[in-house]
């Protein structure tokens, strides 16, 4: 359940950003990367509960999935969740859930067999938009 600490960190980061910019958060958007296999519903629920009593309580927020895009530096292919994560057993997926960069430890490029990957998007949970007033 390390999602709890991640969501707490997100709330703090957004609040801190607003403080530094001297504004109030009207809405913010969170993207949940496919690679780490977080439950979007869980992240949404945690946000809903943890914003209570914070500066973000009145702010609107949305939580959306972000497609995983991983580039294989050996052959140039762009790979996604279905090629890299879906074929893995649950215990290996869990390791990538904690540390998404370990996708190169557990998965190979289905085209060339390479493991020299760069994660271009959909890594983990991140704040993609903040609107202040």
């Amino acid at each position: 359940m390390h999602e709890l600490v991640i969501v707490s960190g997100i709330i703090e980061a957004v609040s801190n950003y607003a403080k530094q910019e001297g504004g109030r958060v009207v809405r913010f958007k969170v993207a949940v990367g496919e690679l780490a296999s977080f439950s979007i519903e869980l992240i949404r629920e945690l946000l809903r509960n943890l914003v209570k009593g914070t500066e973000l309580e009145e702010a609107e927020f949305s939580v959306e999935a972000e497609k995983a895009e991983v580039r294989c530096l050996s052959c140039g292919a762009t790979l996604g969740f279905s090629e890299l994560i879906e074929p893995l057993p649950e215990d290996e997926r869990e390791m990538i859930h904690f540390l998404p960069e370990l996708v190169s430890s557990f998965s190979k490029c289905p085209r060339c067999g390479g493991r020299d990957f760069v994660i271009e998007s959909g890594r983990s949970v991140r704040v993609v938009e903040v609107e202040l007033e």
Binding site: H2, P100, E101, S104, S105, R126
Partner: protein, 266 residues
């Protein structure tokens, strides 16, 4: 407070300073070349300090060749708690390593990916309160060292390990210079594999004098010399920390740590 060059909206930029606010002192163990015994020194330092009642942690940032957890015989997968990932524990030492997640698989992560991985480990590991966190760095001046310098903000220092070989000391100079340039407190040079006893005589297989020269060039202390001790090597190979603590190597390191860390650990 830590100044971060990466996104202000990144949850890790909030979590990492909080983790380190709970840690009294962070000791990085660095070297120029590999194979100088850095992981053995890192693991033994955490072990010796824990045996004295210090709340000690050991973080292995040698992402491509993690071994300090194996030296302590620690295996398993960290559990998830409400405050993050709970380090594994052995003889009072809390241990975190990428090895727990990747097991025996390779970790072919480069450049920016390494920084991401280190940020994640630092942000998610719930050390709780520690007096001392020992960070085992890989050899050289790559991303791991740069990330550690960037992310570990205050109350930090470094020990530079070399063998008596002139080549090892020459390469260690570069690492020492970087650390000093980046305002890391280099506590001194530690010479490992100095000598061993054979038929009552002291043998110095790698020569002598290079560590003195290195410390002179860096204008830091020569902290001491550690013996080439087959018993310590065997204890590390077997992952037997209780045996490691009883070796001549551990005894010599313990004396050096008494002098070196007493100020940092209060």
């Amino acid at each position: 407070m830590l100044k971060l060059s990466w996104s202000r909206l990144d949850y890790r930029s909030m979590l990492i300073p909080k983790r380190f606010a709970e840690i009294g002192y962070t000791l990085m163990v660095a070297s120029g070349k590999g194979g100088v015994g850095k992981s053995l020194i890192s693991a033994s330092t955490a072990l010796i300090e824990a045996s004295r009642g210090v709340r000690a942690g050991l973080l292995d940032l040698d992402l491509h060749g993690p071994s300090s957890a194996a030296i302590l015989g620690v295996t398993g997968v960290p559990a998830e708690g409400e405050d993050g990932l709970i380090p594994l524990e052995k003889m009072g030492v809390k241990v975190m390593s990428v090895e727990f997640f990747a097991e025996e698989k390779p970790v072919p992560v480069g450049g920016a990916g390494k920084r991401e991985l280190i940020r994640e480990l630092l942000a998610l590991t719930d050390w709780g309160k520690l007096d001392l966190l020992v960070v085992d760095l890989p050899p050289g001046t790559g991303d791991e060292m740069l990330a550690a310098i960037e992310l570990i903000p205050e109350r930090r220092g470094c020990i530079l390990v070399t063998t008596p070989s002139a080549l090892s000391a020459r390469v260690a100079f570069r690492a020492g210079r970087l650390l000093k340039d980046m305002k890391v407190d280099v506590l001194g040079v530690l010479e490992n594999m100095s000598a061993f006893s054979m038929r009552g005589e002291e043998v110095k297989p790698f020569g002598e004098g290079a560590a003195e020269e290195l410390s002179r060039r860096l204008q830091v202390q020569l902290l001491g010399r550690l013996p080439l001790d087959p018993e310590a090597s065997l204890a590390a190979d077997l992952g037997k920390p209780e045996k490691l603590l009883q070796t001549r190597f551990a005894e010599a390191l313990s004396e050096i740590l008494d002098r070196t860390l007493s100020l940092a650990l209060g």
